[in-house]
């Protein structure tokens, strides 16, 4: 199948499906500046977050690498990084690392700009516009699907998701893998109870061991801390939607990843080491997961939902599919592909996979998703670390 899409060639060999200018906060203190710069620059997106200062050790590296990863995402043409000036995750450091992907990158700190915030916003707009003008000269060219890095996501799941939208996405994930592309499944707490099935799909013993160690290690942590995970997963909304146990939720959840062999596990902020299906270590909060998927290079994310979700991502378009007829009607403005005809008995999973494939190709070629139309640019960074601040309490 020699199918093609029209994308943007990056100098490092990667291919984008959007040509965005990322305006990145290095620290929470300048979020308002970043937002206002992004509002005024064509094709700019704000990357704002509540972190960037007072972080150390692995927590520091994780935040830093996520911000760098978002700037390096193939959908980003260039970036402007804004800092305050006194934080330890500096604008200079983020910019220096994004530049390694050979993109135009500018950076500055508010404390170095005479005139405070208004002057900094003005400066950011000038720098952003310069990059944006350059970006508009780049034209789309045809590429094959081996350049696609698909992020798999589900949110607000109900028990309809596992029998409709998730298996539809599973077919598309397998198709991307067959075309030589990459697909990434995150949210490991939604693999609990399906370890035996994932292990069977591991390409070798070492990958199988990694899957086992991750899941049993997590359950050991829970035991050590005396935390009862019943009541955390499935979530109250999942339970209302008919999902009773984590096993049931997980069986539906991993259907998104189809039947392809599992090439390996990657850390949050770590790029897949090759093509095919990969598992990313991330717990299960949708926005944290999609931030991570974009930071490791996903150029498109497909998100299934049952009860409905609005979430988007600043750099990777999020295409939403939903199998619940009530949600498709109530939240039509948030849903890209309505697959509720599966449970109405009108269409099969395979037929709807074809519908998703066609819609996805349009999105790859530039058609905006509902989350893009609504301007949703959600960012949350998973703080995956032991920190001296954890478990502080009065004694």
């Amino acid at each position: 199948m020699n199918e093609e899409f029209m994308g943007y060639q990056r100098t490092n060999g990667e291919v984008g499906i959007r040509n965005k200018i990322a305006i990145i906060s290095s620290v929470v203190c300048v979020n308002h500046i970043v937002q206002q710069i992004a509002n005024k620059v064509k094709d700019a997106v704000p990357i704002t977050h509540p972190l960037g200062c007072g972080q150390f050790g692995p927590d520091y590296s994780n935040t830093l690498n996520t911000l760098i990863g978002l700037g390096k995402n193939p959908n980003v043409f260039g970036a402007v990084v804004v800092g305050l000036g006194c934080e330890n995750i500096s604008s200079r450091l983020i910019a220096k690392n994004i530049k390694k992907s050979k993109k135009p990158v500018e950076f500055f700190d508010l404390q170095e700009v005479k005139g405070g915030s208004p002057a900094a916003i003005e400066k950011g707009i000038i720098l952003g516009n310069r990059i944006s003008e350059e970006a508009r000269e780049l034209k789309r060219e045809p590429f094959d699907f081996s350049h696609i890095v698909l992020g798999l996501e589900c949110g607000g799941s109900d028990s309809i998701s596992g029998i409709s939208a998730n298996p539809v996405l599973g077919i598309i994930s397998d198709r991307i893998v067959k075309c030589g592309g990459t697909s990434i499944l995150a949210e490991f707490t939604e693999w609990i109870g399906t370890e035996h099935l994932l292990i069977k799909r591991a390409i070798d013993k070492s990958v199988a061991e990694q899957i086992h160690n991750l899941l049993s290690g997590f359950l050991e942590n829970l035991k050590d801390l005396g935390i009862n995970f019943l009541g955390v997963q499935p979530t109250p909304g999942n339970i209302q939607g008919g999902l009773t146990t984590i096993e049931e939720k997980s069986l539906g959840s991993i259907a998104k990843a189809g039947k392809s062999p599992i090439q390996g596990l990657i850390q949050y902020t770590e790029k897949p080491k090759g093509k095919g299906l990969w598992l990313m270590i991330e717990p299960s909060l949708d926005v944290e997961s999609m931030t991570g998927l974009a930071a490791v290079g996903a150029n498109i994310i497909a998100m299934t939902t049952g009860r409905g979700s609005p979430c988007g991502n600043p750099v990777a378009p999020v295409i939403k599919l939903c199998g619940n007829p009530k949600t498709c009607e109530w939240m039509a403005e948030n849903i890209d592909v309505d697959v509720s005809s599966i449970i109405k008995g009108e269409d099969s999973v395979e037929e709807l996979a074809e519908v998703l494939w066609l819609r996805m190709k349009k999105v790859l070629n530039g058609e905006k998703t509902q989350a893009e139309n609504l301007g949703f640019n959600d960012i949350a960074i998973w703080r995956n670390t032991a920190s001296p601040f954890q478990y502080m309490h009065c004694k």
Binding site: S159, G193, L230, I342, I343
Partner: protein, 96 residues
């Protein structure tokens, strides 16, 4: 996967529960595997129906895999949810 023409779906022939594809009212009848089952509770869209009697401690199967065990006796036609089904996996590993 076959197209569904019923108001429930059974994901795997080994399953002992079905999933409601619309709200199914109490006392209505559904035809499953040549058997007629009377529904004992109002079952909302997406929720599970017992296809056979399931004894306390027995496994509940969906997608052809165990999704947990019954915490009380479940009758054919009953609604299966958190009041009578719990995770086997988390119960085994996390003893609280």
């Amino acid at each position: 996967m076959l197209k569904q023409s019923k108001n429930y779906i059974i994901m795997n022939p080994d399953d002992n529960c079905a999933t409601a594809l619309e709200d199914i009212s109490k006392n209505s009848q559904i035809q499953i595997r040549e058997n007629s089952i009377i529904i004992n509770y109002n079952i909302p869209l997406g929720h599970k129906i017992a296809l056979e009697d399931i004894e306390k401690g027995d496994m509940v199967k969906k997608y052809g895999h165990t999704i947990g065990f019954a915490t009380e006796d479940i009758n054919k036609g009953d609604w299966i949810h958190t009041h009578n089904l719990t995770s086997q996996y988390l119960k085994e590993v996390v003893k609280t």
